[in-house]
């Protein structure tokens, strides 16, 4: 749910990028090619998302898989020297707006890597468009608040429009699964670890739950 920079121009899979651009311009034929580029899309998304689930921000992919070293001639090619398989991650590809899945399944801007369990829960649930994490003007702080005591996300308390609050709550509960028991507990434990590192004066790197950490630690 943190903001994700997914500008197509910046992605590592040049071949896939060209193919999608042609499709968007209605010049290309997409029959079957989508599967051909599957790993390219997965690893490009992981690169943009820095290995975390686009919704829950759980860590779902190790950097060794989406590193720049695994690309050759604009295509994903796993470095044979590393000890991992291309499938050694916990994510699945999600079509943010499920209504686009049938006709525009290849659309880059609608794709995110999310935790497989979250994907199985989300299924084809309707989404609100303004909470798509790669939108130009998207900012999680505008829509969400985080309570450090219960470790739950809630709609930003400054939003007064009840309908918008309901929409955000719907997204928290049924699309992003931000307060799913497992997610909430892992996030709480992670924040507690960081707090401990801070208390002991140890260096720390935030590699997941960026939004919640930002609410709790940086503010």
């Amino acid at each position: 749910m943190k903001k994700i920079d997914k500008k197509l121009e910046g992605i590592l899979s040049a071949k896939y990028r060209d193919w999608v651009i042609k499709l968007e311009d209605k010049q290309g034929n997409h029959n079957g090619d989508y599967k051909y580029y599957y790993d390219d899309v997965v690893m490009s998304l992981y690169k943009c998302q820095q290995g975390v689930c686009a919704y829950t921000e759980m860590h779902i992919c190790i950097p060794e898989l989406y590193t720049d070293l695994n690309w050759e001639a604009g295509r994903f090619k796993l470095n044979p020297d590393i000890d991992f398989k291309r499938t050694d991650h916990l994510g699945e590809m999600d079509h943010y707006d499920p209504s686009l899945k049938a006709e525009k399944y290849w659309r880059w801007s609608n794709l995110f890597m999310i935790h497989a369990k979250i994907n199985s829960l989300k299924r084809n649930t309707a989404v609100v468009p303004y909470l798509k994490p790669d939108l130009e003007n998207y900012s999680p702080e505008e829509y969400f608040d985080y309570d450090e005591s219960t470790h739950r996300f809630v709609p930003n308390v400054s939003i007064e429009d009840e309908n918008i609050r309901k929409e955000i709550q719907h997204m928290i509960d049924n699309v992003l699964f931000l307060n799913h028991g497992v997610v909430q507990r892992e996030r709480r434990d992670y924040i507690q670890w960081i707090r401990q590192d801070i208390r002991f004066g140890l260096p720390y790197v935030v590699d997941r739950f960026h939004t919640a950490v930002s609410f709790c630690i940086n503010n």
């Binding site: 985080y146 450090e148 219960t150 739950r152 996300f153 809630v154 308390v157 699964f177 799913h180 497992v182």
Partner: protein, 447 residues
């Protein structure tokens, strides 16, 4: 006899399902069939069908899922079976036509077996030695155990190809014990009559009376008492949870008077059968068969073993059942996180629907199937964590609790913002603090 693999090509909701039921790499028994397997999954994922697949192939036994006339599984299902004292025989069994079973030893050696026996060593051994002399019959405890206490008194109760408690009443196992109970009671009666006679004929001969009494005491001390044995070694440790125990003393005139096992409370009040709780029945009628049948080298199938059992008992029964048997493989199907916590992660077969509605197995390891690569372990997880991570329950309580937690989180954020704005002592902040306190107490009281 143990199943090491179940493979299903296309059968109802199953499509290209391959269940490896062996220990993973890095385990002392790596590659050998699992001693126990636990099927979990949403209703409709085929747990019972998988259980009932096993006697179909081990014993040509037809259950509800596979009636005599069923043909749809033919050529679609195979199981790998390991048997022999050293598990030296490993076969893959599949039905290629209704009456033609295919036994495959390895890729180079395969035979067709019609209903008539063949001379193949491994098959002859299975049919003539293994099933008849070495291994006990497969035992099946269905989800709806027949609790009726009936069919008692048949000297030679016949279970058929397997011991199927969806068809036979569980109380029939009592017949296995009736003879020895009767002999024990008759002998006791005889000794008591000796005492009476001694008293009658020589009421002043205290030495003779004492000697007769000693004979009874000595006999009681040394003679195997079948009821005490069942009580001490099977039922009393479990019944103690209900403040009950097996009644050890009872009187009868004929074999028919013995009836079924009697239960009493700790004040010696007998509890009539019709007043046994379903939990008591479940405990008695699942543990007793395993104790009395003494299964060995066979397969035991349990559908929903948690039925009617309080969680504290669910915690114990899996290891307990195992302790009553000898070299058996157990298959369980359950919806209970407490039952699931008795299993290593490689023993759990979690069945899920994929998008087109077919069943797949969710594995708990990353990369190679090695003991070190498992990221979930029900044995080390809390029960609520098992509910959330394995049974995919989203919240840690009811929807009402979730709603209240959201409410509390919102109040906390509002309060914090007032604090940050230097309004801690303002009217709204004080009102919020009081609401937060009330709600926190309500929620944390149960946390």
């Amino acid at each position: 006899m143990k199943v090491s693999r179940i493979t299903i090509k296309d059968f109802h909701q199953f499509k290209d399902l391959d269940l490896d039921l062996t220990y993973p790499a890095g385990h002392p028994k790596a590659g050998k069939p699992l001693d126990k397997v636990c099927f979990i999954g949403q209703s409709g994922t085929g747990k019972t069908t998988l259980l009932e697949m096993i006697p179909l192939f081990t014993s040509r036994y037809h259950t509800k899922s596979f009636p005599e006339e069923s043909l749809d599984y033919i050529n679609q299902v195979s199981i790998n079976l390991s048997y022999g004292h050293e598990a030296e025989y490993n076969v893959k069994i599949s039905d290629v036509e209704q009456d033609i079973r295919f036994w495959e030893v390895n890729d180079s050696e395969a035979i067709y077996q019609k209903r008539t026996a063949t001379n193949q060593d491994f098959l002859a051994y299975y049919k003539e030695e293994w099933v008849k002399k070495v291994a006990s019959k497969v035992v099946y405890f269905p989800a709806n155990l027949n609790f009726e206490i009936d069919d008692i008194g048949f000297q030679h109760y016949n279970y058929g190809k397997i011991v199927d408690f969806s068809k036979s009443k569980v109380s029939t196992v009592w017949n296995l014990l009736l003879d020895s109970i009767q002999k024990y009671q008759e002998h006791e009666l005889q000794l008591r009559q000796d005492i009476s006679r001694t008293v009658e004929h020589a009421s002043t001969d205290l030495d003779s009376i004492k000697s007769a009494l000693n004979r009874l005491e000595e006999w009681k001390k040394n003679e195997f008492n079948p009821i005490a044995d069942v009580a001490d070694n099977c039922l009393d440790p479990l019944l103690a949870n209900f403040k009950l125990r097996v009644k050890r003393e009872f009187h009868f005139n004929t074999r028919g008077d013995i009836g079924f096992i009697k239960i009493e409370d700790f004040q010696n009040n007998e509890i009539p059968e019709h007043l046994w709780s379903t939990g008591t029945k479940q405990v008695v009628l699942s543990a007793l068969p395993l104790y009395l049948l003494k299964p060995k080298n066979t397969i035991i199938l349990f559908d929903e073993p948690e039925r009617s059992l309080y969680p504290d008992l669910q915690r114990l029964i899996i290891n307990y059942y195992e302790s009553l048997t000898n070299n058996c493989q157990f298959f369980y199907s359950t919806h209970s996180p407490v039952i699931a916590s008795s299993f290593d992660p490689w023993e759990i077969v979690e069945l899920k629907f994929n998008e087109p509605g077919h069943i797949y197995r969710e594995v708990y390891y990353d990369g190679e199937n090695h003991v070190d690569n498992y990221h979930l372990n029900p044995k080390t997880m809390r029960w609520d964590d098992i509910l959330q991570r394995i049974f995919d329950l989203e919240n840690d309580g009811s929807d009402f609790r979730k709603q209240k937690l959201d409410e509390l989180a919102t109040l906390n954020v509002k309060f914090r913002k007032l604090l940050d704005g230097g309004e801690a002592e303002s009217g709204p902040a004080k009102a919020l603090r009081s609401q937060i306190q009330k709600l926190s107490e309500e929620l944390s009281k149960w946390d």
